[in-house]
């Protein structure tokens, strides 16, 4: 590997890292603003024009708050919890293809940090690690609300990971590869996987809501029952990390959904654009398309949050085990029949 390649990779990693942090930051602002619009309000508008400096003010506040570690908490695990949560949230973006290869001068740069051939498994591994941050934090707090939140998070994430994995299996039967890059390339133009796997996509998005602990599956932190759930005892930036991790997770799972089901950086008419604008501009347009899809998904996450009330715990388990898993298995069988006899 040449030095230039290493530098380019490093720059790419820094850019993706920065983008995911900024997107997470402004998701907090967008969430409050969108919530306001859904409720016929105006939303934050005091910090800067239209309140766009609000995330900075919130971040500054988080940093300056008093750091409290409860006496009976386990100090090491108490700090390890939020660290793990934010770490696992951040490393998920490594395998996502943000665009086609781009030609800058003489260099051909892939807009993906690394194309490992088990990209989906990597994502799944990172996602299932994410629950440890919540579990450790909830357990280390030595508080019954935190513990209940952590238990809920663990059982919910494990239950929904199963149907998520099963819904992916049907997708893999169609695509025949685990590499996210190849999956994105197969969806060239308008051949998006959602057209072949609509049920799989619905299963996947429901599970994505559960995995990111968003409403209607926000039982781990539901304030009406558990004060703050797993982060009841957290203050200062440690709380900030938990909240931040949730938004980064939302960003990453939106990117995964866009890549797996909605064509990633592909859009109808991309060949025409490539022929007319050249190999430098066209991939950038693809990146813009990718981010548009991601932002639409983030908007959808928020839209659902301000529409649907939370599931009761037993309803959540019913939905996960009695409906989603059988449905996912039926989807696999139907896909198999479709591949064997019709395609």
């Amino acid at each position: 590997m040449e030095v230039a390649d290493i530098v380019i990779k490093f720059v790419l990693i820094v850019i993706i890292f920065a983008i995911s942090l900024v997107v997470a930051m402004y998701s907090t602002y967008a969430e409050r603003k969108i919530a306001a619009f859904f409720q016929d309000r105006i939303g934050p508008n005091r910090a800067g024009p239209w309140g766009i400096l609000q995330p900075l003010a919130d971040g500054g506040k988080m940093f300056l708050k008093e750091e409290i570690i409860p006496t009976n908490a386990s100090p090491f695990l108490f700090i390890a919890g939020p660290s793990l949560a934010i770490l696992t949230a951040c490393i998920g973006s490594a395998v996502i293809p943000w665009g086609q290869t781009i030609t800058i001068g003489t260099h051909v740069v892939p807009l993906q940090v690394t194309d490992i051939n088990v990209g989906i498994l990597y994502i799944f591994g990172v996602v299932s690690l994410g629950v440890y941050g919540v579990m450790i934090g909830g357990w280390a707090s030595n508080n019954k609300y935190s513990l209940l939140g952590a238990i809920r998070a663990a059982s919910q994430n494990i239950s929904y990971e199963i149907s998520m994995g099963l819904s992916i299996i049907a997708l893999l039967m169609v695509t025949g590869t685990l590499s996210l890059k190849e999956i994105a390339e197969q969806q060239h133009g308008w051949h998006w996987n959602v057209l072949y796997q609509p049920v799989g996509f619905i299963l996947f998005i429901v599970c994505a809501f559960a995995e990111t602990n968003r409403t209607p599956f926000d039982l781990p932190e539901c304030e009406t029952e558990l004060v703050g759930g797993y982060h009841t005892e957290y203050s200062s930036m440690k709380l900030g990390f938990y909240l931040f991790a949730e938004y980064i997770n939302m960003f990453i799972s939106s990117a995964v959904m866009a890549t797996l089901y909605w064509g990633g950086y592909n859009y109808p008419g991309m060949d025409w654009v490539l022929a007319h604008t050249g190999p430098t501009i066209a991939p950038l347009l693809g990146v813009a398309v990718m981010f548009t899809k991601v932002f639409l998904f983030i908007f959808f996450f928020m839209w659902v949050r301000w529409t649907i009330p939370r599931f009761r715990y037993d309803q959540l388990m019913d939905l996960g085990w009695k409906i989603l898993i059988p449905l996912a298995i039926a989807n696999i069988i139907a896909t198999g029949i479709w591949i064997t006899f019709i395609k």
Partner: protein, 165 residues
């Protein structure tokens, strides 16, 4: 049990049908409703920049009136303080000196006139009691402040601005 009134109503609860149990149609319906609200005009009045209009008979901050020649109408009779159920009004009367005829209408006037805005309940009994039509609750509402002592409004805040000649 015998019905105690004829208002009893039998409620039928049918088991949910398949579409209702599938959640998704109901969720789509809910999403449509929230989306309608997304584009609706916000009902917020952004207060300091934008003020809500008061109704015609709104009772707000008191003002001590002047007559058509710019003289203070109040003669410090004390009827307003007497009528005040919250005991918010205090005053000290003084006699008008020679050369002050252009300032005060009657021979007696209020040298000090204070209303404690934290006690006042804005009932309007003082304006009803006033025989000289000197006090009216026609101002805006009382603004916020940090200290209790700053809520005792004296004549500097209550008396109407002098007429412009």
């Amino acid at each position: 049990m015998e019905p105690l009134s004829n208002k009893r109503k039998l409620i039928e609860s049918k088991p949910l049908n398949f579409l209702e149990r599938a959640y998704l149609p109901a969720i789509a319906q809910g999403l449509a409703i929230t989306m309608k609200h997304f584009f609706r005009k916000p009902v917020t009045i952004s207060y300091p920049e934008e003020k809500r209009e008061y109704s015609e008979n709104f009772r707000g901050l008191h003002s001590l009136k002047r007559d058509e020649n710019g003289k203070e109408r109040c003669t410090a009779c004390g009827l307003c303080a007497l009528s005040c159920p919250a005991e918010a009004i205090t005053m000290i009367a003084a006699e008008r000196q020679k050369g002050e005829e252009h300032l005060y209408r009657e021979e007696k006037y209020a040298a000090v006139y204070e209303i404690n805005m934290l006690r006042c309940i804005f009932c309007g009994l003082c304006e009803e009691a006033c025989p000289k039509e000197a006090i009216y609750l026609d101002g805006p509402h009382v603004e916020s402040d940090y200290l209790r002592k700053d809520f005792i409004y004296g004549k500097d805040k209550l008396v109407e601005a002098p007429l412009n000649q």
